[in-house]
Amino acid sequence: MNDKTASGSGPANSSAEPLRIGVYICRCGGNISDVVDVERVAEVCRHLPGVVTSNVHTFMCSDPGQKNISEDIRNEKLNRVVVASCSPFLHELTFRGAVQRGGLNPYLYEHANIREQCSWSHKHDPQGATAKAIRLIAAAVGKLRYAEPLDQIRLPNQRQALVVGGGVAGMKAAADLAGRGIPVLLVEQSERLGGQVNRWNRVFPTEQPAAELLGALRKQVEGHPRIEILLRSRVTKISGFIGNFQVTVEGQIGPAGRRTEVAVTVGALVMATGFLPYAPRDGEYAYHQHPAVLTTPEFLELLRHAPDAATLQFQGRPVRSIAFIHCVGSRQVEGVQEPQADGKINNYCSRVCCTTVLQQALTVRQRFPETEVYDLHQDIRTYGRGHEDYYIQASQAGVIFFRYHGDEIPTVALRTDAPAGAPPLRLTFKDYLTWGEELTLEVDMVVLAVGMTAGTCQSLVEQLKLPCGEDRFLQEIHPKLRPVEISVNGVLLAGAVQGPMNIRETLAAAGAAAVKAAAILAKEQVELNPYVAQVDADLCEGTGQCVEQCEYDGALRLVQVVNGDGKARQRAEVNPGLCVGCGACVAVCPARAINLNGWRLDQYEAMVDGLVAEAPALVAATA
């Protein structure tokens, strides 16, 4: 056992008061106590260094359980608290609250997880589980020896929002934010609002004209007293942190295209820069090798202008047959498709292309009854409400389906020997709706169902150091629990900037992002978790090794300070607004002068000591 935990209950931190730790062990109504001998755990833990009280309770999270803590803090003059119960993700905040109500700093609290990571995982090993619970509590007690009171970081809040991107997501986010009383700057790079949806005719599954949908959204933002819209404008520079982002927007105003620059400060920012349709390489499925090989957006454009007729016309020729190929630029297979510019393939599903194809195929069959439609898919993923109807209707309308495998993609060849008027394109593929039979189709047109790609906001990604996934889309903190937040505080994700989404999902995400931004901007000050790096000025030697490790501009820098002896020297300084608390700096400090608040290195070492303490030493006093 290390001497740090063996040396009794003397204070380990700077404060002079001796440790008085309360340990509370939860039965969780049997969830824990059916496996772990909680009475024995309490008995052993009573003798851990610094512990003055150790109790068992049936439900620590109940009101009486929490009251127990608050009262003991006052009556027993506790200055540290451990609760051993469920996962900290459930009740860490609950017990910090109880500690605070007892008059103690909420960060002088530790949580030991003896349910998810003990009783539930070691059901058939009660002895082992009991010993493990003791060690986990000993580790928590050890960690508390080096705990310091912490305060939430409070910073002034610039109570307005920036929305980057004026597509459906940006308009929805701006409208919702303004509706909550928050001034919004909406920046759109093109000459009009609406984004990609401007290119679409009707949206599935409602078949509402896209222009009508956009009109409804535009009405909510245009002329709104709290929304300022900047068209033909781009965010060129951005720096700062939650509550205080400094933004430069460059734009062109007037027919002369005069360049203007606007500088604003905002407290929160919504990323609504959307996606780009996948652009096939030259030659990919004969794209750009023959004019009758089109992408789905290009085909929409054709449909928009084509008059209804028995047969669709293209460049003065009848289109008697069309083959749609799914998954172009999506669900690519390593070694089969050529990698993208960054060396990676797009192995993700773009989610909306299946329904898009079916909608377009059905439109063709309805408007041009003599044009045959073939559909070549890996799978049909009509996952949204009402989407499957398109599949059923397309089948009934005579669309002919084939299924290919992702590692045997169809080939499209030009029929150079075709007689005049004959179909100019030949598809070859194996069809797995049958038995993998090799088939050829001769068609007048091939439509490539292109997926969604990221990369619409590269400059902001670099300036704000926003994390991206393997698929290059912006990456949320947690796909389920925190789906519209990103690890840079104050930045919210709205829509397809985060990954392929349909309009319904995009608007839901944009609404959620607006609510999150509004919650940030509702307060005079922003409050941040105190888990950021902190420099011990007495220990810091100013070597700057930590600064080299830091990936976040301005979070950590060297400053000149003047000592008592009048000599200037360098030392590291943390900007708590910009520090994300990753700890990359901690590992390289030669003097151990920099640490993460709440996760100090000496705390981890004390936790290890708690784990490895020999059972006899732990239980000696109980004999």
């Binding site: 900290p88 539930w120 995982s121 994390p467 090794q545 003097a591 993460l596 784990l611």
Partner: protein, 157 residues
């Protein structure tokens, strides 16, 4: 190897991915050895080499670094971590500590099978190699600590 040897395994589990992953194992009532202890960490990138070696010196037999992998929410942290672990294993190899004692892997919030596989494999490996030679680990810990300390002088010079 000592009879009845039960290795102590420390899992350094990221707050965003692997720690909830370990919780998911419990929620699914899947069982693994009670000799496995999980510490919650923002990112294991914060640990210097001497922390790992010191843990071995104190009585931990194997460390599983359960990170977020490419889902790491912190920019550049995973690459830096991987480099640190490369340096650590090189030092262990030079100093005669079995490198099987350390493993870096990615565990997601729902990676129940991956978690179980990793801890079971670590257990099996440790049963094969036995307890840590604590004196060797202590020596390497001091060496790593000293190198880090003297890196300040190198920067100053």
């Amino acid at each position: 190897m000592a009879a009845g040897f039960v290795p102590k395994i420390l899992v350094l589990a990221t707050e965003r991915c692997a720690y909830p992953g370990a919780d998911a194992v419990g929620k699914a009532h899947q069982e693994y050895g009670s000799n496995v202890y999980v510490f919650r960490v923002p990112s294991p990138v914060l640990f210097p080499e001497d922390f790992y070696l010191g843990s071995f010196a104190r009585g931990i037999d194997g460390i599983l670094i359960a990170a977020c992998g490419s889902d790491c929410p912190y920019r550049g942290a995973y690459d830096r971590l991987a480099k640190r672990i490369d340096a650590l294993t090189a030092r262990m190899r030079r100093g005669g500590l079995e490198i099987e004692r350390i493993r870096i892997t990615a565990i997601c919030t729902v990676c129940i099978k991956a978690y179980l596989k990793e801890v079971d494999e670590m257990n099996a490996k440790l049963l094969k190699v036995g307890p840590v030679n604590r004196a060797k680990a202590r020596l390497l810990q001091e060496q790593a600590r000293e190198e880090l300390r003297s890196s300040a002088a190198a920067v100053a010079a």
